[in-house]
């Protein structure tokens, strides 16, 4: 058999800019047998909550789920390391038959005895939703007994996709927040940053320079105590919208904290975001200081970026990442590097985000939602991409196709945010796109490789 067939149900999830009128289909369940790159509800919840450093993250379910997500993010902590453990009730066949409630209670007791955490998240996995353990009641009872927070996270794998998990995580966080009656001026929360490789700390240093206090990060390097004070902030800024959009909306509704979207990926977005923050706070002093910071850092960084940019002329990028907002930033960031994005897709992008993507990319760019390896292969090849941005599962595929690759996943160990991040990104693009290794491919036609 020659060229593999495309699954017709997938057609609506793929569009080409300029050629189709109807909007892309998104935010739907994955189609069976299509080898989706998406994870599950539990995973969505876990990745959002996991960076909370002093919490015990207890997975109520069979062992695999906990095993595959142990220390899942490269999130850094300035304090407790409790979050880096994988705790599981390790359900067995008899628990599936007779229920796992008792085991869960005992597990919480044991964790409290051993670690005295102030906060325990209890995640439900697929089978817990089916066997019907009453997570809410068990957590409530445990909280009373131990006088700590025990928060159930409703993340059974089959109740939706990763987005449902984000929402479950936000619901869990909302249970922690408490109105304090205090409102601090020039104090902001940063939503949707997980302090991968210290990224939240980088942004914090910029804000400090502008005279703004970073109150709480959701959830990078945050602790249960810190989280409770989140209601004191005067503004929320939100980076990863996919995971925290719902939380930002709720905080506005419940605690009257307005929010704005920011992105610290690339020079332009970073500068724009710093300006927007100062403007949203109505703080002229901060705005002035932001300009100083932007001018200084740009002067330092721009020549480095320009040096790399010269090497990338004519190269084409493909993007397949988790969320829509990151995808949007990447289009702009590649433009700063002199590269055009020719294929772009996300796992959980939303309608508005796809509209923005569509407005940003050039005619002929392929846009996909919930893509699979066969589609990624087909479109990267067809569009002549030289490089892919993606996560761990996409990497070997890119390499097998002889295409350069950038990790933009959650276990990376170098920051991609802010000015430091912009340089790291450019250097990483260079290190992969311009590696001599491609010269040895059987039919290499990359005579222009440096």
């Amino acid at each position: 058999m020659g060229e593999a067939l495309v699954v017709s149900d997938r057609e609506e999830f793929i569009t080409t800019k300029g050629r189709q009128k109807q909007p892309i289909k998104c935010d739907a369940d994955s189609i069976a047998g299509c080898v989706s790159q998406r994870a599950c509800v539990y995973c969505g919840a876990r990745v959002v909550l996991n960076p909370i450093t002093d919490a015990a993250h207890l997975v109520h379910g069979p062992i695999g789920c906990a095993s595959y997500t142990w220390d899942i993010r490269g999130s850094l902590s300035s304090g407790s390391e409790l979050y880096r453990n994988a705790f599981s009730t390790d359900l067995q066949e008899e628990d599936v038959i007779f229920g796992g409630g008792k085991k869960l209670t005992a597990a919480i007791d044991e964790l409290v005895g051993k670690y005295q955490p102030k906060l325990i998240f209890v995640y439900s996995t697929c089978i817990v939703g089916v066997i019907g353990d009453d997570l809410n009641a068990i957590c409530k009872a445990a909280a009373l007994k131990h006088e700590i927070e025990v928060i159930p996270v409703q993340s059974s794998g089959f109740i939706g996709n990763k987005s449902a998990g984000y929402r479950a995580a936000c619901d869990a966080i909302l249970q922690l927040l408490q109105p304090t009656g205090i409102k601090k001026a020039n104090s902001i929360n940063y939503l949707g940053d997980y302090n991968l490789a210290g990224e939240a700390w980088i942004i914090e240093s910029y804000l400090r320079e502008m005279g703004i206090e970073l109150n709480v990060v959701f959830t990078g390097d945050s602790s249960s105590e810190k989280l409770k004070t989140a209601t004191q902030a005067s503004l929320n800024i939100m980076q990863c919208a996919g995971s925290t959009n719902y939380l930002a909306g709720k905080m506005e509704e419940l605690y009257h904290i307005p929010y704005i979207r920011v992105s610290f990926l690339g020079l332009q977005d970073t500068a724009d975001s710093l300006r927007q923050i100062a403007a949203a706070l109505g703080n002229e002093e901060a705005a002035r200081k932001a300009e100083i910071l932007i001018a200084r850092e740009s002067a330092r960084i721009q020549p480095v970026i320009d040096k790399y940019r010269r090497k990338f002329a004519g190269k084409k990028a493909a993007v397949y990442v988790g969320g829509g907002f990151k995808a949007i930033s990447l289009i702009k960031q590649f433009r700063e590097l002199g590269m055009e994005v020719v294929m772009i897709g996300t796992q959980t992008g939303r309608k508005e985000e796809y509209e923005t993507i569509n407005s940003l990319v050039a005619d002929g760019t392929v846009i996909l939602d919930d893509a699979n390896p066969a589609e990624l292969e087909r479109f990267m090849t067809k569009q002549g991409a030289n490089l892919l941005v993606g996560g761990v599962k996409e990497r070997p595929l890119a390499y097998k196709l002889g295409i350069a690759f950038i990790d933009h996943n959650h276990d990376r160990k170098h920051p991609l945010s802010g000015y430091v991040g912009a340089v790291n990104f450019a250097r990483e693009v260079y290190s992969t796109l311009c590696s001599p290794v491609w010269n040895y491919l059987p039919d290499h036609d990359r005579g222009d490789v440096v």
């Binding site: 058999m1 067939l5 080898v35 994870a39 599950c40 539990y42 695999g64 066949e93 599936v96 109740i159």
Partner: protein, 457 residues
Amino acid sequence: MKEKKAACRNVNENPCNMCMPMGGILALKGIENTMVVLHGSQGCSTYMRRHISEHFNEPVDVGSSSLNEKGTIYGGEKNLKQALDNVRKVYNPGVIGILTTCLAETIGEDIGRFAEEYLQEKNGEEIFLVTAPTPGYGGTQAEGYFFTARRILTCLTKKSEKHNKINLIVSNISPADIREIKRILNLMEIKYTLFPDFSDTMDRPFQRPYRKMTPEGTKIEDIRKMSGAPATLQLGMTVEDALSPGKYLAETFGVPLYNLPLPIGLENTDRFMEVLQEVTGKGLPDSLQQERGRLLDGMIDSHKYNFLGRAVLFGEPELVYALTRTCLENGIHPVVVATGSRTAKLAELLQPYIEAAPEPVQILSGTDFAVIRKYGEAAEANVAIGDSTGRYLEEKAGIPLIRIGFPILDRMGGHRLLSVGYTGTMAFLDRVTNTLLDSKLKPYRSRMYDTFYRKAT
């Protein structure tokens, strides 16, 4: 020897194992032109793909029936059949392996019946289906691997004429190890069916154009005829009969079974060679005798350094068993021997060897890293031997980790590590000895200074 702890604790803290379908995928990846579909919710397959991809640095496509709420309530038959249709459209596989996950098992899905019906609906179309119920809570990846391998035989092997190809069934070892075993068999001019064989499917040369399906792996034709082999050699001492592919061939087709340890270590490799000679009547070629001699020579060279070793060994039972014996024959002291699998076999099998050991050996099954670390620290372990999941022993307890087994996620080339045969044993032993030397040499000057000079002045 003590069996304890696991039972009286209520939390698994930092798991030392993964779940059953993971092993099932690996076994199926060793068959030519095979695609796998996991019946359950989307996450399981994505997680397993991620782990496998990262270990092997290969694309791993695994379909999922992507069960949602509706499928969970009303049954997932429709989803599964749709998944089969879709993977056939895109991948055109010769075999599809259908594995269940926790969810599918809990709601009581009968994949055997679904598969039969599916075949009837598509009557006449050339497609082989292998089904294996592998609930995540039914065992670890080690059990999932052997059980699925057994199911592959149950579904595909037919009664066949007698022939002279021996069956060789391997546990979850690296592609480099599988290749080394094939090299040995080729040197001895032995005809064989090695099963399952993911040495080329999971460690493929760079080629253009890219192929989604891999024609390498054990041939269906050969699997069909494993019933007519003169003997089965199975590297699966720790495998329960109910999960054992070799046992299935013995019971169903009368193929004599030799259950052997993985050929890591001098004695284990000798045993492997002996049985090969016994079964085939072939002699040991000169070159292999030379390799044996070189290993022995190397063992002598490094024996005093190895005596410094106090090892924590952990991972899949089969590997741990072979490695423990390798440590014992080299004077490395295995202070903790641990597996996440709930098995009594490991302890039973090791019993005669550890009775003779100079110090007590703590054997743990169904355990986790909280327990392993506790015993390891108490016994003043100075080296850990196992996969990447033991990285905390290194990070938090300062015990250097020698990576071997699956998964290796934080180093390159885990799948290229050679550890079997005389040559592989030497390579493994060098890795251990050099780690021990490193721990001795690095702090040597400052330690002596602090202990003796400072004290004296």
